[in-house]
Amino acid sequence: MSTDWNSGVWPDWCPGCGNFGIFTALKGALSELGIMRERIVLVSGIGCSGKIPHFVKVPGVHTLHGRAIPFATGIKASNPELKVIVHGGDGDLLGIGMGHLIAMGRRNPDILVVIHNNGVYGLTKGQASPTLQLGRKTKSLALPNINSAVNPILLGIASGYTFLARSYAYDIEHLKACLKQGISHSGAGILEVIQPCPTWNNLVTMDWVEKNTYRLKDWDPVVKDDEDAVKKAQGIIGLESGERKALGTILVDRRKETFGKRIASIYKNYSTEPPAAQRVEVEGKALPIDLEKTFPRFFIQ
């Protein structure tokens, strides 16, 4: 893989951080997908995961805590030619940003959300995140966690996401394959990445991951029709209620219209002239809008 995907900024994650695996796999995926560099936009939130756009040599928008999805949605809706990928942590996307995550599923824009799931808030020193199990106490917590964990995959189904997958930060090849699939998917995707945090989370260790995850086999994630969609949803609830976490592609539903198509069905010019492709002036003057034709009801005859 070409080192050309490094921005040159020193990745300042802790030694052993799962983000390094995600970083490596992402560069590999982008390189293999062959998308023009300038046409990619990495949008991130706040936290350790939020820094990833600075390290990759593609345009990056490091936004506010929990708000990467609305930024990404505005970018994608304005210029559908851009390949938009969101990176955020479990605290960012499932805590403060939960509402936006759900709203994105309802819209189904052509955006992949990569959830760096390490069970803690890393950059504020290890508080419990929304994916930490009830009653667990990491070494950084004074008392056991009193909230139940949310499952991003189940939340993704309920919200209308059309691509769902789970991978592991240190399994670069598997993660890269999931990233490639998710980035190529047309519609809203969630890729949950189980990511050890060696500094704060002493529960989700490499050992734990080895014992508590398994690769999906004989599971066809592709939804064929409405009946199949129901069956898949039930199957996924079954998968997700098991003791061990399934790794792989969990759902691919190509039947739902993307946000872009929905916009185009209302705004007829959208597919050929999205906002970013429209002129707004002619030689520094406002466009020749005929106000009476455009706004007849405001005129008094």
Binding site: K57, H62, F298
Partner: protein, 633 residues
């Protein structure tokens, strides 16, 4: 020609078609060649509570409402009870004769305190407690009462059955009102056709109702004593004009200014702006070809709305959002990010009564200090406050240009008064659309935040070059840094824009003086209150005062030098604004060191009226320092 100043109130229950009644009357008056200004007052309620339109029409331009009024047209008893005392001597109360036996004190939608106040008031003047008794009292006291059988006429002549009668009552009331004021049926029907231009069924129903009621009006002998032929004169044609609410004006301005992405989360009184943009998704040229097609996205909350708009702006799209105080609170973090990242994004903020959800549907000018300080830390932004519908439209275009020219968030500060008031405006003249500084191709590595002589760096859009953005402090490429030297230089680059903006802003964008040079007293105001002050000027001068009005338009960065010139010229400076503190007066104090002691303030949620400005000014001249206004229901 006789100078004409017609003031009228049309009231009824929310959901009873009062908004349509008001729009019909306003349209009829405007189509008759008059200038109009109409306020709409309503509760935060969908059906049942008291709402009304306060309409003013004149030969000359009007920018405010005024009490007392010539007519009160009431659809229900609460409207009679609320507005009977707003009538001037000789003024006319119009209501359905079916209401005569109703009690004035058994009105469930009215708040207890108001019923108590009303009871005390009626007892004190001996007016009785039924509509009939009140009518008699009004007549004894020099008012005219026109009890008209609306419902009966509709049933008999239009053959409508309930509940369709309710749908027709508003037009019936408006027809009687306009006929009583001297307008011909022909003109009323023209207005009906124009108002319901896209709704054939409603048009026919309302034509039939207006016709039947008007016939009945001619038959009614009691109307002869009215003697209020205010309307019905021939007026010179005024050319093409538009009739717009403030929300409409801003929507049109944004579209002329090149808006292509509007995001919003529903909130009163801002949301109508987005509806207007949605309804005009195709901008047409004179040949009927689409020359633009903006999109509107309803976001899941205001946080999302501002962030989506910023995302759009990063791709080079002219993007904006609109909201009111509670939504603006949520947008503060996004505005800060836009400030840090020098993003041109426009936020239209319509002030309403706060704090919290306060008075959701009522007027206020209490977010000035909040908007100029919103977001933590320090960053350059522009806040423009429009004082009229024309300014709202022009400023909407201007805000788009300023945002891109200086690469800063721009807040367009309006109020419910402008949002919901309807007025006549001349069609706008199209001006410049400035896209600001762009990067030249082939100049090597692109630095989004290049530090040079100009604090504004050349811009590239996402999709064109490599670039990075972050809410953290950053270097010229946009990467995070905590280096103290870079921090200082980048901080100074961002803040230097304030000076640049102030230096380059035309004086007219900073403040406008209305009235004679050589003034002794200066009324300093902003927003929709400006209209009441300007309208009050001739009367103030007729009292022998040498007074002028200074309207402040740019509140951030604050044009302290320019404002000081006027303030130092005056002997007495009086602040006039719709809030408790006197926020503009405070801001002037902060920036110029000049303390404005005399303040005229109002925070009941209702507009400051022309007559209130006159009274308050006299009180200030009489030695009062702080005059608090309370007029209007």
């Amino acid at each position: 020609m006789v100078k004409m100043d017609l003031n009228l109130i049309i009231g009824g229950p929310q959901g009873g078609g009062i908004e349509t009644a008001g729009l019909l009357a306003v349209r009829a008056l405007a189509m008759d060649g008059l200038e109009v200004f109409a306020d709409r007052e309503y509760h935060s309620n969908i059906k049942g509570k008291h709402s009304y339109s306060h309409i003013r029409a004149s030969d000359k331009r009007v920018r405010s409402i005024k009490y007392p009024v010539d007519f009160v047209a009431a659809l229900d008893v609460e409207s009679i009870a609320t507005h009977y005392k707003d009538l001037k001597p000789g003024g006319v109360l119009i209501h359905d004769s079916a209401l005569l036996d109703k009690s004035l004190l058994k009105l469930p939608p009215m708040e207890k305190e108001r019923v108590e106040r009303l009871k005390a008031e009626l007892d004190a003047n001996g007016a009785g407690a039924t509509v009939k008794e009140l009518d008699e009292w009004l007549q004894r006291n020099g008012k005219v009462v026109l009890q008209y059988p609306f419902s009966k006429t509709i049933v008999e002549k239009v053959k409508l059955a309930s509940p369709s009668i309710e749908r027709a009552m508003n037009t019936a009331l408006t027809t009687v009102l306009l006929r009583a004021a001297g307008m011909t049926l022909t003109k009323i029907l023209e207005a009906v056709d124009s108002l319901f231009i896209e709704k054939a069924e409603a048009r026919e129903l309302n034509r039939a109702v207006a016709g039947a009621i008007s016939d009945g009006f001619d038959e009614l002998s009691g109307t002869k004593k009215l003697g209020t032929k205010i309307l019905g004169q021939e007026r010179p044609p005024r050319g093409k004009r538009m009739l717009v609410a403030g929300n409409d004006a801003v929507a049109i301005g944004k579209l002329i200014g090149g808006l292509r992405l509007q995001t919003y989360y529903p909130i009163t009184p801002a949301a109508d702006e987005s509806f207007v943009i949605e309804q005009h998704a195709k901008l047409l040229d004179s040949e009927g070809r689409a020359v633009g097609s903006p999109i509107v996205i309803q976001a899941e909350d205001e946080i999302s709305a501002i962030c989506m708009a910023i995302g759009g702006a990063l791709t080079g799209v002219r993007s904006a959002t609109c909201t009111s105080g509670p939504g603006f609170s949520l947008m503060a973090e996004g505005i800060g990010w836009a400030g840090m990242n020098e993003v041109p994004v426009v936020v239209t903020c319509y002030q309403r009564g706060g704090p919290s959800t306060g008075l959701p549907t009522r007027h206020s000018q209490s977010d000035l200090l909040f908007t100029i300080n919103s977001g933590h830390g320090e960053f350059s932004r522009i806040v423009l406050a429009s004082g009229s519908h024309e300014e709202a439209l022009d400023d909407a275009v201007k805000c788009m240009n300023l945002a891109e020219r200086y690469q800063v968030p721009v807040i367009h500060l309006l109020d419910k008064g402008i949002a919901n008031c309807v007025t006549t405006v001349d069609p706008p003249v199209f001006g410049a659309v400035e896209r600001g500084k762009r990067v030249e191709k082939g100049t090597g590595e692109y630095l989004r935040f290049a530090i040079g002589d100009d604090p504004v760096s050349p811009r590239a859009y996402l999709g064109e070059e490599l670039m990075w953005y972050t809410g953290d402090e950053h270097d010229e490429r946009g990467h995070i840094t905590e280096d103290p030297d870079t921090r200082r230089r980048m901080y100074e680059k961002r803040m230097a824009k304030r000076e640049k903006i102030l230096k380059e802003a035309p004086d007219g964008d900073k403040a406008v003086l209305y009235g004679d040079e050589g003034f002794e007293d200066l009324l300093v105001t902003w927003g929709v209150s400006t209209g009441a002050a300007i309208d009050a000027l001739p009367e103030l001068r007729s009292h022998g005062s040498r007074v002028a009005v200074l309207q402040v338009r740019m509140v951030e960065p604050f044009p302290a030098d320019y404002i000081s010139k006027f303030i130092l010229e005056a002997n007495n400076v009086i602040g006039l604004e719709a809030n408790y503190v006197g926020q503009l007066a405070e801001l002037i104090g902060c920036n110029t060191g000049f303390r404005i002691k005399s303040r005229i303030l109002k925070y009941t949620g209702r507009l400051i009226t022309q007559d209130e400005v006159v009274d308050a000014y006299m009180r200030i001249k009489g030695g009062e320092e702080r005059v608090v206004l309370t007029g209007g229901e």
